[in-house]
């Protein structure tokens, strides 16, 4: 069944909302003559039509709730409904950011409690809670690094980034005014430490490293890397995208890093929501802690206090010189509630077990698929299994085709063509919330598809996949060449 756009379902005058009557006023409106003249152009629908429309749209989507979602580097784990329920307690949801702080002690306590958990887990002394997502957390970390360097009168100009890094790393470094230099990987899929050491110098502000890295591997030389950076006067930003593999196993502080963001919407299940909202608290070392952005919560004898200004005695008086503000208000509070709900549910023991199971699941996939796919690097791997496209050589089937064929088997494809350091990458992240039964069904399907591809008889089948979806492959070139980014009434088009 095709589902039209809401604009194509318009019945003028209809509304799915009944309004209370507007109160009488003595003096008419006070709009200063700025009242809107024309229609907005919004369509009118009744409530039954709206509910059915979005229900039907939802049925064209794939989510963790509907099936296995091994999208590498995205940590698509189960999203508990308890998180949603607690975030909707009116004591959390119906609280305004600018209430007198004596009326929001529970909200401040929640922020401080979550911060405390994050600090204990990572062993880091401080955390900036306000970043709204991973990339935003990177920005906070890099701003803190720049502030710290400037505070010691040594801003520097270069940030080093491994070639396997997520695109957000160089983009963030550039946003903070740094030039970006790429560091190559070695044959084992890890940072080439010698190359890094060669690149370190008096103008290097920081090294941004993802660990476990985007090939799914732990950077064995991490402690040495941090030491080398610090020795060269540079700071270490660790991208926390893959933190799920090591929480409860590795204290971040022990790796010598200065900053790491944590994606609450991935690692702490809060959930991804089709593209957010996220939340990216950034843990900071002692070197960076004084520069953490506004606002932040401190516990005082009189209760929890929200520091919103540099002039606040809890700021300046306490040796803090915040580098600024990341966004409006006090962080992604609704996401905090969900994250704390998850963390308390899992506990210290459960979080460690989650890392163990995530890593075990990835290694199990690797073990069970290594003979039919081509693993890019030697294991053990961490929470992801990386393959390249050598197994597809001479089959005429591409990584893209192979992934699209998996959709017809009932699975969300793995991450494709990332990381860039291997050819035709297939990056699978099973997470700890998948059962062995599910992995086995997936393994069977992947093996069958790999055999089908290698048979040489199925090139057209793969090229045409997926076959069973609400839409077949979409023409992305056409979309980009002459972008149509909004609906326009057919009449208007005819006029144009």
């Amino acid at each position: 069944v095709e589902e039209p756009l809401i604009f194509e379902m318009d019945s003028p005058g209809k509304s799915a909302v009944d309004l209370p009557p507007a109160p009488e006023t003595a003096g008419g409106d006070r709009l200063g003559g700025l009242k809107r003249k024309g229609r907005v152009g919004l369509p009118g629908l009744s409530e039954p039509e709206v509910v059915r429309h979005y229900t039907r749209l939802s049925q064209k989507n794939y989510g963790i709730d509907t099936g296995f979602f091994p999208l590498g580097s995205c940590t698509m784990k189960h999203n508990p409904r308890l998180n949603e329920k607690l975030a909707r307690l009116s004591g959390f949801s119906d609280v305004h950011p600018f209430q007198p702080t004596k009326t929001v002690q529970g909200a401040l306590e929640l922020i401080d409690t979550l911060a405390d958990w994050l600090k204990r887990m990572t062993g880091m002394p401080a955390v900036a809670m306000s970043p709204a997502a991973g990339a935003h957390g990177e920005l906070a970390g890099m701003l803190a690094i720049r502030a710290a360097l400037e505070a010691r009168g040594d801003a520097r100009s270069i940030v080093l980034v491994p070639e396997s890094a997520h695109g957000t790393n160089p983009a963030t470094a550039a946003a903070v005014g740094y030039k970006v230099r790429s560091i190559p990987a070695n044959d084992a899929g890890r940072v080439d430490v010698d190359a890094l050491k060669d690149a370190l110098g008096p103008d290097v502000a920081a090294f941004m490293i993802t660990n476990p890295n985007t090939c799914g591997l732990f950077e064995r030389d991490m402690v040495e890397i941090s030491a080398a950076c610090h020795e060269a006067g540079a700071l270490v930003y660790m991208d926390g995208a893959n933190y799920n593999a090591i929480m409860g196993r590795v204290k971040i502080a022990d790796l010598g890093v200065d900053a790491m963001h944590i994606n609450l919407h991935k690692t702490f299940s809060t959930p991804h929501g089709g593209g957010g909202p996220g939340s990216g608290p950034t843990v900071l070392s002692d070197a960076l802690a004084p520069f953490a952005p506004l606002p932040f919560v401190v516990k005082q004898d009189s209760g929890w206090h929200l520091v919103e200004h540099e002039a606040d005695p809890a700021c300046k008086g306490a040796g803090k010189t915040p580098f600024g503000r990341m966004k409006g208000y006090h962080g992604q509070f609704g996401v905090f509630v969900r994250a704390l709900s998850y963390m308390m549910s899992m506990g210290g023991d459960g979080l460690r077990q989650a890392s163990d199971d995530a890593v075990l699941n990835a290694n199990y996939l690797m073990a069970k698929l290594s003979d039919v796919l081509t693993p890019s690097f030697e294991g053990p791997t961490m929470h992801e299994a990386l393959f390249d496209d050598r197994f597809l050589k001479d089959t005429g089937v591409s990584t893209l085709d192979f992934s699209k064929a998996l959709i017809d088997e009932g699975f969300h494809p793995m991450t494709m063509y990332f990381p860039l350091v291997v050819h035709g990458a297939l990056l699978m992240e099973p997470t700890e919330t998948e059962s062995r039964q599910t992995l086995d069904v997936f393994i069977t399907a992947v093996r069958a598809l790999a055999e089908k591809a290698r048979s040489g008889q199925a090139k057209e089948y793969f090229a045409a996949a997926p076959h069973l979806t609400p839409r077949r492959r979409l023409d992305e070139t056409r979309a980009a060449r002459k972008p149509v980014l909004r609906w326009t009434a057919p009449e208007a088009t005819a006029d144009a």
């Binding site: 006070r30 152009g41 007198p100 701003l143 064995r220 929501g273 700890e432």
Partner: protein, 447 residues
Amino acid sequence: MRYLPLTDDDRKAMLDAVGVASVDDLFRDVPDSARGGEPTDLPDHASEMAVERTLSAMARKNVTGQDAASFLGCGAYRHHVPASLDYIIQRGEFLTAYTPYQPEIAQGTLQYLYEFQTQVSMMTGLPVANASMYDGATACAEACAMAIRVTKRDRVLLSGGLHPHYTATTETFLKHTSAEVEALGPNPLAVEDLVGRVDSRTACVVVQNPDFFGHLKDLTTLADACHEVGALLVVAVAEPLSLGLVNPPGEMGADIVVAEGQSLATPTNFGGPGVGLFATREKFMRQMPGRLCGETVDEDGRRGFVLTLSTREQHIRREKATSNICTNSGLIALAFTVHMTLLGEAGFTGLAEVNHATAVRLAEKLEQIKGVKVIPSAFFNEFAVRLPKDATEVVDKLADKGILAGVPAARFWPEYEELADVMMVAATELNDEAAIDAYVAALKEVL
């Protein structure tokens, strides 16, 4: 541990398949000095009941908009959220999906983003909109960065009527670029001379409408002044419901409109998450930050939707990207678009009218209290008032009486003594006559 499907039997069998004796072996790449990361000082896993009890206890320590009559705004507004909206955004197919990278199995997300972009475009009066940003403040910062890219100029002028968090966020974002940010100070009483400050070095001027103090303004002259010298006009909207009643920025000459969508999407949630709206002119489309959803066709020629123009984005462009934004506010964008669809033209304009009338009603009653002055002559659903007493104290005392009366300007500008008696007050459809009367009565008592 209810979220973990592996049993000990599974783990054993899987370790055998992998060929290692224990999970520890899988972590052998971790340097010895970094082992032993177990957070032994954290409590163990807990039942749903126990977690619910602990968090409910925290929730009960807060005073909610149901416990007290609430008249707070300043960029976060309390509106009725339809029950069907909250149902729809909780459907697992929306809630547990990823960013729609695989369009064949993400047409649900993509179609609503396309509907969202269209609605934002219609509301703002500008032809193209993106698929959401983090919030209004970051959208404002991104708009300035975009204006700098478009104009290849460096000066950014921020109105003193801009939300102070938007100002601070923009300053932070642009701190280490070549940009020079001039942020005017707050002055709810004076007319700000923005026109006189625009010059050929100006990349953009940012104003908020209605501004932070509630002033509703005609921006046409300012837009003309900007365009005359080749600068862009960026308009921030902190209460998008105002667009149901007020001339949209696009029609007053804005080049970029940014807004905070929370008011039409979610409860106030102590300030987050929100959703940033971002719209601009067609010619700037390829300079926009954030995700964009576009229409196309599939192999069978059927209409479908995809993320598009991703060559602007960091996963392709890396350090040359228009922005580092990746995850944005998909689910809050869904909430926004569902609410707008529920409202429709009649509901959106009607709800705006109810809000304005409620605020006018409140203003009329407050003006009758001796010493209380409503500052803006034109406003939507929020206005600054000058009190005969220190506003922070008044707010504090009224909170004890179960009235969340407003936000003292001193919360944002503690250093401006002349703002000590100023308070921002908002009224929405949720404030009924009884609440207004209780407010007025309580205010009289404390003045």
